[in-house]
């Protein structure tokens, strides 16, 4: 791609601003119930959601290391257990009485934790309201529907809507809430590097989807502005075809996506061309590529006039019904190395205090084994990374890992002791959502006594 200098860019992006603003602002009514401020934030913050697709076996990601607690873990896990001496020790500033260690392939996260840049949020999952084992079996509380099912629990993490069918995700609702404050942004608040997702779906704003290495340019089009340039003419003709009136909802839906693609690709790629070369080495993996691209996009936030961004990156393959001990080390190594590289890159560009990375996953997995793997469960462990994180701490109650404990609804499936709503509300508050608007981000938050888990400054 032709490189352009910064001055040229600013000139061009003036013209592009109309386009960018058009899709940062899908027409509709103001959404915020808060103070109704439309003032720009005046600073930059980003949330990076790392979704571990398939249900990460997170009770092998963080494991009790002290003898008494390890023995309970090992008795439940049997042939799925990580050897005690292989665990990477971590030393929380506020111990809960047990010692913990990380999966042996997660040295990157271990380092971040010990430096105070990372924290774990334990036994977290979708809940409508606080739930005990008695509540669960007596059906005396509302539960998220279709527990233990992949797509339904992914939808729960994304939407937080409990039994209500939802067409929006909590990141999408955040984008709607702040849309008047980020009116100057050239790109949508929500960007996905891994396909369209309910997480970023909204009523008023539309997420932008790019590839792991950013948007790809159209081979057949140029944006030279030169009337004698056939490729420029081709682009104009293509856009006029997209702008035509179509008879069916399907053609219109397809044309809308194509329009966004044509409108934004040069804007984003021209900006990315200005990104500094990062010295940080990222893993040679799809996740590594996604996280490198996010770091580059953050590096050119000023060119794109961004103040608030939510990025979605994803890694699949966590549905370890089979060969878990064979496959999990590589999966978690890629997660840990990519997150560590991303953090290092943010330090390199001076943005580590403005960006918070956090994990989500369908569900935790059964403590019991199915022979060579584990099955779908409920509560699991997640981690958050960034300089805004009150790190080197464990948040949330670690469950009693014994089978048939008060946390176990059968087979080592733990009732979450912290809800995904609390997690989302904590992140949203840091991001800049007005406190009175938190219930529209996390609809069940008022069912929980603690609305801010305290892991962010």
């Amino acid at each position: 791609m032709k490189k352009i200098n910064r001055r040229e860019f600013v000139k061009r992006s003036g013209a592009a601003a109309a386009v960018g603003a058009a899709f940062a602002h899908y027409p509709g009514m103001a959404f915020s119930q808060g103070m109704g401020t439309t003032a720009p934030f005046g600073d930059y913050r980003a949330l990076v959601c790392l979704f571990l697709h398939g249900g990460n076996d997170s009770y092998n990601m963080i494991v009790p290391r002290s003898n008494a607690e390890y023995n309970v873990y090992a008795a439940s896990r049997q042939n799925m257990a990580i050897a005690q001496q292989d665990l990477l020790p971590i030393n929380p500033l506020t111990p809960d009485g047990a010692d913990y260690g990380l999966h042996p392939s997660m040295s990157g996260v271990q380092t971040l934790f010990e430096q105070g840049r990372a924290a774990f949020v334990n036994n977290i999952g979708p809940l409508v309201e606080p739930t005990t084992k008695t509540d669960f079996f007596n059906k005396s509380v509302l539960l998220p529907p279709q527990l233990f099912s992949h797509n339904d629990q992914q939808d729960q993490w994304h939407s937080l809507k409990g039994a209500t069918v939802s067409s929006t995700g909590w990141a999408g609702r955040i984008a709607d809430l702040i849309r008047d404050r980020v009116a100057g942004q050239l790109l949508a608040t929500n960007v996905s590097l891994h396909g369209s997702s309910l997480y970023q779906a909204a009523d008023e704003t539309i997420a932008y989807v790019m590839g792991s290495n950013g948007p790809i340019p159209f081979t057949g089009f140029s944006s030279s502005g030169d009337p004698a340039d056939l490729f420029y003419q081709q682009r104009l003709a293509f856009e006029r075809v997209l702008d035509a009136t179509y008879d069916t909802v399907y053609e219109r839906g397809f044309a809308e996506i194509q329009k966004r693609a044509v409108a934004s690709v040069d804007l984003v790629n021209d900006a990315l061309a200005l990104a500094p070369t990062l010295n940080t080495v990222f893993p040679q993996s799809d996740l590594g590529n996604q996280m490198r691209t996010v770091a580059q996009l953050i590096a050119v936030k000023d060119e794109l006039q961004m103040e608030r961004q939510v990025f979605l990156v994803e890694k699949g393959g966590f549905d370890s019904h089979d060969d878990q001990l064979l496959n999990q080390p590589d999966l978690l190594a890629d997660v840990s190395d990519s997150v560590k590289a991303f953090y290092d890159a943010l330090v390199e560009i001076g943005m580590a205090d403005s960006v918070t990375t956090f994990t989500q996953s369908d569900f935790g997995r059964t403590m019991t084994s199915n022979g060579d793997g584990t099955d779908h469960a409920w509560g699991g462990n997640q981690f958050v990374v960034g300089d805004a994180v009150m790190g080197q701490e464990l948040y949330g109650l670690f469950p009693d890992l014994a089978l048939n404990s008060d946390d176990d609804v059968g087979g080592g499936r733990f009732i979450p002791t912290t809800s995904a709503d609390q997690y989302a509300a904590t992140l949203a508050r840091w991001f800049g959502v007005d406190p009175v608007d938190l219930p529209s981000v996390a609809p069940n938050i008022n069912n929980f006594a603690v609305q801010d888990l305290g892991f962010l400054v």
């Binding site: 006029r240 075809v241 009136t245 909802v249 089979d322």
Partner: protein, 551 residues
């Protein structure tokens, strides 16, 4: 548009009434006049039908449909034998890394889909492969023979019985590996080992009944409180998980010694009785399997238990209508097809041939008037195959080198990234589709990124991979643009020809105007380059919203 739908349904209802009246005439009245001959099928109608039933309409096949009419054409297609994949893979030298054969598996998929004479069978097999999903991505990367044979089974059973297909799928080692029923063993409480629940869960959720009870028209049943009624709970999944214990690769000395080899990946799994749980199991709707049965007896009863659940008809009807005809069928359409699933008219439940025929001959698939929710977004892979079929595309080697189809198009033959397929049947993009309570599953993979990839690929296929290319690579699939070059001096004639081949002549005024504009500019800029004119015309059609739409 609801009014239009009502009108269309009412019309077809009246038509069916008058047909009944005609056959029951008698008594003293004179015999009614013979019904007027049906109106001739137009080329546009034949294209609509063929884009539902093949990998892309062609003018030649449209003439067959016009001559034979729909039902006879379907009957002829259903009588054709299946084009298979496995014999091709077995005929090739075995590479050192078996996974490399997935490239050849995708190649033979394209040969059968683009050139296969059994088009309807292959199209239904492709639809089934997006419902009963296995994928080369993941544990099957080293089992290309198994994955090819699995697809062959879908083609062989495309017009067979769904209960039989469920059994073939359940015992196929490709599914066994993919959803980990293979190697699933009975409980061992001392080691806190319990049966693997993966296949049990997805067989019900994705392959047969879904999560909530359905009416026969596919709408969700509700209880007195207006809540959806779950079809099963965790205890039922555990019941089925216990059923599906004891199966492993066939022919091994023992269960623990059963490992994949080149041959057993295409042989149904074998029961190793010592590893089957023989306790009683509770299944759907409280059905109990007694203790002490063999693994095969348990399996038969369990599959019968699922197959006879009232949800299977509307569930499979909706999934197949989605793949073949429309994203938003009316409840009446689903009910008519589900009724045929429940009974094909001869007392057989699960007759897929009858179901496919009911889907295609339904008034809603062959409407007299069109509504803005008729049809669907074309699957991106079908945009490619339609172009290649319409333009007799071939490579010198005969190979279709599309191993990375899933990267370019967001979908490829048995290349989903998980068992939930490339897109969800419930996906609804933001904007008017979601606001209207409609779905458009294919738009889930039509992201800004993926659409750009596809648009760029069509640029390559039209401007570079065409019959005018000098010294093409032997695997480059070239479209034949000789007809277009011959008439390219006449812009209108060129556009007419391309529109006839790809859109049955039904091209929008805007698209035509922009093609005239671009072709005339190219004519000035590149004088005498008729190949570029032809490519320009084809490129504009295949990247247009109207070509991305399947009426």
């Amino acid at each position: 548009m609801n009014k239009a739908r009502l009108l269309s349904t009412a019309l077809s209802f009246m038509l069916s009434l008058s047909a009944c009246g005609g056959s029951s005439g008698g008594g003293g009245s004179p015999p009614p006049p013979p019904p007027p001959p049906p109106a001739p099928i137009t080329t546009a109608e034949a294209f609509q039908f063929l884009n539902q039933t093949t990998f892309g309409a062609t003018l030649e096949e449209a003439q067959s449909v016009i001559d034979m009419r729909y039902e006879a054409w379907i009957d002829q297609e259903m009588s054709k034998n299946a084009s298979l994949q496995l014999p091709h893979l077995r005929s090739l030298p075995r590479p050192q890394f078996l996974g490399e054969l997935h490239s050849d598996r995708v190649d033979i998929w394209f040969r059968n889909s683009v050139d296969g004479f059994d088009q309807l069978r292959q199209r239904v097999a492709f639809a089934l492969s997006e419902i009963l999903v296995v994928s080369q991505q993941g544990a099957l990367i080293n089992a290309p023979y198994g994955v090819a044979d699995y697809y062959d089974k879908l083609a062989l059973f495309a017009f067979g019985n769904y209960r039989e297909l469920m059994e073939v799928v359940t015992l196929h080692p490709a599914m066994g590996v993919y959803l980990s029923m293979l190697g699933n063993e009975k409980p061992n409480p001392a080691l806190s080992i319990r049966p693997d629940e993966n296949y049990a869960r997805e067989l019900m959720q994705l392959f047969s009944i879904g999560l909530v009870e359905l009416n026969i028209d596919g709408t969700v049943r509700t209880d007195g409180m207006g809540q959806a009624i779950p079809t099963y709970d965790q205890s039922v999944i555990e019941g089925f998980a216990h059923v599906f214990t004891g199966w492993n690769y066939a022919g091994a000395p023992s269960f623990p010694q059963a490992f994949q080899n080149d041959n057993n990946q295409t042989v149904p799994m074998q029961l190793y009785p010592d590893f089957h749980d023989t306790g009683a199991k509770t299944l759907l709707n409280g059905f109990m399997i007694p203790a002490g049965q063999t693994g095969d007896q348990d399996l038969q009863m369990a599959l019968d238990n699922i197959f006879n659940h009232p949800n299977v008809g509307p569930f499979i009807a909706t999934r197949l209508i989605h793949r073949l005809v429309t994203s938003n069928p009316s409840p009446g359409y689903v009910a008519r097809v589900a009724t045929v699933f429940n009974n094909n008219g001869f007392g057989e439940r699960g007759d897929l041939g009858a179901v496919v025929k009911a889907i295609l001959l339904d008034p809603e698939a062959r409407p007299a008037m069109h509504m803005e929710i008729d049809g669907k977004v074309k699957e991106p892979l079908l945009r490619l195959t339609q172009l290649w079929r319409a333009y007799d595309a071939t490579s010198q080697s005969g190979v279709y080198p599309l191993a990375p189809a899933y990267i370019i198009f967001g979908q490829g033959p048995l290349q989903a990234s998980h068992v939930f397929n490339f897109f969800s049947p419930f996906y609804s993009p933001p904007g008017e589709i979601r606001n209207s309570g409609l779905v458009a599953p294919e738009l889930q993979i039509a992201t800004e990124y993926q659409n750009t990839f596809v648009t760029n690929y069509f640029f390559l296929l039209t401007f570079d991979w065409n019959s005018e290319k000098a010294n093409p690579g032997e695997d480059e699939v070239l479209i034949d643009i000789a007809d277009e070059i011959a008439i390219a001096d006449d812009t209108d004639a060129l556009i007419d020809l391309v529109a006839d081949k790809l859109l049955a002549g039904d091209i929008s005024p805007t698209l035509r105007a922009e093609m005239v504009n671009m072709i005339d500019q190219v004519r000035v800029a590149l004088p005498g380059n008729n190949a570029a004119l032809a490519a320009e015309a084809i490129y504009f059609v295949v990247t247009s919203p109207e070509f991305a739409y399947q009426l």
